[in-house]
Symmetry: C2
Subunit: 147 residues, 2 copies
């Protein structure tokens, strides 16, 4: 199965709320993940995107990137989010896509090397959600992998 | 209508995802709000509570406290979350309750006074989720009210 379909299945089967949010894997590579969600399932009292939905999409985008990296290195570790921060810069008025940073090979290799030595490693990942050409949301998460 | 029922209605009607998360108003006073959610609707791949659900409950707990404060002072302002941080300290393995800090009258009065003078004010609120006697989640959010 393609990695994109595999990730979609993991999200929908393992985290039921992803179905209510309507999360779809939009784009995936060795170093980047984008996830998408529709506005209509995620509105708030102002008919813009609910902050909890924007957060959920962002935290899962980072999580998915770690998942993809671990698959690539054939590592079977637990992935947990430990700390995160989010800035809401502009209201989101359409369907929305969260994209992780394009993580460098140097950063990935260091992360994997620490894990292989200590059985535990941490990676900080940035995710953003655009509203047209404006950056509407900036998320930053600390993910830990452990045996 | 009682404030507790009114808040429950606002959450369910205005933010559809609150129904999928199963959010219930647990407790409410002039200076504190607690919201509850069931584990079974919010599990992750490890059968503990999904980080996005814990965040959503926390951000809405702070939002609800601001809502309650504004109702009390008969102020009709927009409430937006601008920035937040969350620490996941322990996995949550049961139904969970998020409680805001018990906000002081001094802090509330300052918040309302700034709003009345400038048409805009900010309040930082802490929210925690307990796992039995342990603090499992610590959330801190910057809420802005404006005309």
């Amino acid at each position: 199965m393609k990695m994109k379909d595999q990730l979609q299945q993991v999200l929908n089967n393992e985290i039921p709320l992803t179905n209510a949010i309507g999360i779809k894997v939009e784009n995936i590579s060795n170093s980047m993940v984008c996830l998408k969600a529709p506005l209509d399932k995620n509105t708030n009292h102002k008919s813009t995107a609910f902050g909890g939905s924007l957060y959920s999409l962002s935290v899962l985008t980072g999580w998915s990137l770690v998942y993809v990296i671990l698959k690539r290195f054939d590592i079977n570790a637990h992935i947990v989010i430990q700390h995160s921060e989010i800035d809401y810069l502009y209201p989101v008025k359409n369907d929305f896509v969260a994209c992780s940073e394009e993580v460098t090979e140097t950063k990935i290799n260091k992360f994997i090397k620490v894990y292989k030595r200590k059985g535990r490693a941490r990676i900080m990942l940035d995710v953003k959600i655009m509203n047209g050409l404006e950056r509407a949301v900036h998320f930053s998460g600390d993910y830990v992998i452990h045996k």
